[in-house]
């Protein structure tokens, strides 16, 4: 199984597996990019309703196709059906939340549940049709790449590429409407139309991903890569890049696993891979990750204790400090065995005192100028404070 997986990932498996992989990577990248904007615009739940609501559309399109005597699995028709019912659901959510007293989340829950229920009922009807059995509509729910034809893969890849291009081209526009839609309206930008365009891109990604990730989990594919990427950067361009990368990697691994183990639901595997990337980001990202935060808090407490111990000792015999701090001071050669300062310790204590005095003066005169990233009393004030602030502080000392 591992050999099959590696073969698929390294493009050595069959032609079909290879193009599925390319398609899945494009789809994942598109999901990451579109998902980032969707999340920042607060539309993650709406896209969940959209995803679930594609089911009745797919099944109705299939029934209509059978009635018209089209082939059992006419993909463009099915995808058009999905897009139509997905869009209808978004419109319903909008109507319910704007023209009734229902809140948006209530409207979403109602639309999501009832449209998915309708889809499942229609599906059981469709499967009793003479052509129903072969169509494999059920795979749209959780995704199954195994049976995809070449044409289907290219359709998916094309749609995904379209979504990628659109979200890159509209970076500046989407960022503004996500951050401050009122300001965008104030300069005369068509915020509503840009919002619709963003939702249309969600429809495109959802429809493109029907066979790969499935309609139930497509929202996870839109949400998880951006959330994971957010841990690594404060800059939107980098977040987009990382979200696209995480999405692409999840798509690739999911498709490759699916090729190695044909029974596996691809969508679930893709989302699990994305979930793993999220977990790793949550734990180990620098600065924002859980581990980094805990370490920072711990080390800050320790370093402040050291500064305080040094500064206390400079003023004469001081109360004994806790074990680790005392050990550390001894090990660095700053104190003697009986806890008094060594000459090196004196110098260090004087530096710490001078630094502490700068921080204290800043707190008194201009508390708003303290940068959030600086460690108060620990970081060297002359290094972390902006020049202008330092100059003001020094002026204060001279006076």
């Amino acid at each position: 199984m591992l050999a099959d997986l590696l073969a698929a990932l390294s493009f050595q498996a069959g032609y079909n597996t290879r193009i599925v992989l390319i398609g899945a990577v494009l789809l994942g990248t598109a999901a990451g990019l579109v998902g980032t904007f969707t999340l920042l615009r607060g539309r993650a739940l709406v896209s969940d309703a959209l995803g679930h609501a594609t089911l009745p559309g797919v099944v109705l399109a299939f029934i209509a196709g059978s009635a018209l005597g089209l082939s059992s699995r006419n993909l463009p028709l099915l995808l058009a059906g999905a897009a139509a019912s997905g869009a209808l659901a978004v419109w319903l959510v909008h109507l319910l939340s704007h023209h009734t007293r229902l809140t948006e989340d209530t409207a979403i829950a109602a639309v999501l549940g009832s449209s998915f229920g309708l889809g499942v009922v229609l599906l059981s009807v469709a499967q009793r049709l003479p052509t129903g059995g072969q169509a494999g509509l059920g795979t749209f729910i959780l995704g199954q790449t195994a049976g995809m034809t070449e044409g289907e893969v290219w359709t998916m890849a094309g749609l995904a590429a379209l979504a990628i291009l659109a979200s890159v081209a509209l970076f500046k526009e989407f960022r503004l409407i996500c951050f401050d839609p009122d300001f965008a309206r104030g300069i005369g930008w068509p915020v509503q139309r840009l919002d619709l365009l963003l939702l249309a891109l969600v429809v495109v990604v959802t429809v493109a991903g029907l066979q790969t990730v499935g309609l139930v989990l497509v929202v996870a594919f839109l949400v998880i890569p951006p959330v994971a990427a957010r841990f690594w950067s404060d800059r939107l361009d980098r977040i987009l890049l990382l979200a696209g990368l995480f999405g692409g990697v999840s798509g690739a691994v999911g498709a490759a696993l699916s090729a190695a183990l044909p029974g596996l639901p691809t969508g679930a595997v893709i989302v699990l891979v994305a979930g793993t990337l999220f977990l790793l980001s949550l734990l180990f990202a620098p600065r924002r990750g859980v581990v980094a935060t805990l370490l920072r808090q711990g080390s800050m407490g320790f370093r402040l204790a050291v500064v305080k111990a040094l500064s206390d000792r400079r003023r004469g015999p001081a109360a004994p400090v806790s074990g680790t701090v005392a050990l550390w001071l001894r090990a660095r050669g700053l104190t003697t065995r009986d806890g008094a300062l060594t000459p090196r310790g004196e110098a260090a204590a004087e530096r710490a005192d001078r630094n502490l005095a700068l921080w204290e003066r800043l707190t008194r005169t201009d508390p708003n100028a303290i940068p959030d990233t600086a460690l108060w009393g620990i970081d060297d004030a002359t290094r972390v404070l902006p020049q202008a602030t330092l100059a003001r502080l020094r002026e204060g000392t001279a006076r």
Partner: protein, 285 residues
């Protein structure tokens, strides 16, 4: 003007009409940076602003004052077209707002956006240039330099690369101010620029306001602090759903007008006025 009249008037003069037909009624105000006729706004069938007529002075600093729920923020938003007006007409330098977007600068309340958003201070200020740059066009170096100069004006050049969430509240307020400056407008709307700021930010905002005034711009500020109105502004517009008074501060901000503006809200205990702040979408006035 009755409600019905103002409604029909709005219908017969859609925003796009050329100056010839519509201007007759407000010919005298053609030069005014902002002229408002019969502006009414309602949220959930209750009036927030009722038939406001207002003509801004050709230049200077204007304070919009009034009790909570008087419709001060709504007045600004309705002028900018951010909330739908029930009726009325807003003209900027004699022309419909839609045609004058490039001449209007806007500084919203600080609480109106998510400050954890992954964007730097400089990026936010550069957004002030977007109206000039246009959609689907890149931000050029000249625009970025202009944005940096505006950050410098509010004393935040050192913080250009900071993610906005890592700035203090006052610094965030100054970023919004710099963004408004970057718009290089002739008419500015500011929503509570002095709300909850530190001394350094207050100084920076006052400096900027004076600079804009010297350059002959008009700045219309929602202001909540009655103590400082006369020191900081030249003109005032006193609102409480209806217009109570407007004109130079010395004549407008008097005990008599303030009593009228603030007493009605309290004394007659009109639930319409008292309940409004809570119903406002997001904006804490």
């Amino acid at each position: 003007m009755s409600f019905l009249q103002s409604l029909t008037r709005f219908r017969t003069e859609p925003a796009g009409t050329s100056a010839t037909g519509a201007a007759t009624a407000i010919d005298a105000d053609a030069a005014s940076p902002l002229s408002v006729r019969g502006l009414s706004v309602a949220y959930h069938h209750k009036p927030v602003l009722w038939s406001i007529d207002y003509t801004a002075p050709p230049r200077g600093l204007v304070a919009v004052i009034g009790p909570n729920g008087a419709g001060k923020s709504t007045f600004i938003k309705a002028c900018l077209g951010l909330v739908p007006a029930l009726s009325g007409e807003v003209r900027v330098f004699g022309r419909p707002v839609a045609a004058m977007r490039g001449e209007i600068g806007y500084m919203p309340q600080r609480g109106s956006v998510d400050w954890d958003f992954p964007v730097s201070a400089l990026d936010v200020v550069a957004m002030g240039r977007y109206g000039r740059i246009g959609m689907l066009r890149p931000v050029r170096r000249a625009d970025r330099e202009r944005a940096l100069a505006c950050l410098e004006m509010v004393g935040l050049a050192d913080f250009a690369g900071r993610q906005i969430g890592q700035l203090s509240g006052g610094q965030q307020q100054r970023v919004f101010l710099a963004r408004a400056l970057a718009q290089e407008a002739r008419l500015y709307f500011m929503d509570e620029p002095f709300a909850g700021v530190d001394a350094a930010t207050e100084r920076a905002i006052l400096d900027v306001l004076h600079t804009l005034d010297r350059q002959g711009r008009t700045v219309i500020c929602v202001h909540h602090d009655l103590q400082t109105v006369t020191d900081r502004f030249h003109h005032a517009l006193v609102l409480n759903v209806e217009k109570i008074a407007d004109g130079p501060v010395a004549r407008t901000v008097t005990e008599e007008t303030l009593a009228r503006a603030y007493a009605t809200a309290r004394q007659d205990g009109d639930p319409r006025l008292l309940s409004f702040p809570a119903r406002r979408a997001g904006a804490a006035e």
